[in-house]
């Protein structure tokens, strides 16, 4: 029962833009303002916009799906912390290097970005879980 067609169409247009905006924020986070935390918040806004419009119509599972998202994010973050130890470097060593992709030229890959991705996922999972729980129809 979404009461405003105008809102629905507007949201249908803006959500992809927001998701893209979040990805851009995340990717350039290392060199310019942005980063996992902010990108996570923007994505959370995008998800919540969808929630705003469609409500919980289609989600009747009641299972805390986004809690698994949080767990995945934490797992990834922990992985980037522990893997260096297994390879012999001290705990939590980040390394970065440049690889040359055929068409994109030299891309800077940093393992810190993986950790940042973990942060990103946790933030999204956290915000959405809390708001889903708060607003789910009893």
């Amino acid at each position: 029962m979404n009461d405003s067609l105008i809102l629905a169409t507007a949201v249908r247009i803006t959500r992809p833009v927001l998701f893209l905006f979040a990805v851009v924020l995340f990717l350039k986070g290392h060199n310019a303002p942005g980063g996992g935390f902010i990108a996570g918040l923007v994505t959370a806004v995008a998800v919540l916009l969808g929630l705003l419009v469609h409500g919980h119509g289609n989600r009747k599972t009641g299972r805390p799906t986004f809690l698994y998202v949080v767990a995945a994010g934490l797992g990834l973050a922990l992985l980037t912390a522990i893997v260096p130890t297994l390879l012999g470097w001290p705990f939590f060593t980040h390394s970065f290097g440049f690889i040359n992709l055929p068409l994109l030229g030299s891309i800077e890959l940093a393992s810190a970005a993986l950790f940042d991705l973990g942060v990103y996922i946790v933030v999204v999972g956290n915000v959405v879980t809390v708001l889903h729980a708060l607003t789910e129809r009893r």
Binding site: F21, P33, V42, V45, L52, T135
Partner: protein, 89 residues
């Protein structure tokens, strides 16, 4: 020349900020307050853009975009809240 113009604009924008704040405080109904908050966001956005021009830095583009998102999302959330008592049915 640009600095003085930008400075003037900033002053006026700060004025509009204060005026919209007055409406937030005074606004008889909730809807007034929401609109006032919306204008405030726009004024903040304008101030940030002028500030970025003055400081000649490109870092603020994301902040500006975020402000635009904020005003939309906040307004819609409030609108749904007014009617349904909760932002989401």
């Amino acid at each position: 020349m640009l600095e003085s113009v930008a400075g003037g604009c900033l002053i006026f924008l700060s004025l509009s900020l204060l005026v919209s704040l007055y409406r937030v405080v005074r606004g008889p109904s909730v809807a007034d307050r929401v609109i006032a908050a919306d204008t405030m966001t726009t004024s903040v956005l304008a101030v940030v853009v002028v500030g970025a021009i003055l400081a000649d830095s490109r870092d603020y583009t994301d902040t500006v975009m975020a402000l635009a998102v904020v005003s939309f999302f906040g307004t819609v959330a409030f609108a749904r809240y007014l009617v349904r008592g909760r932002p989401v049915d």
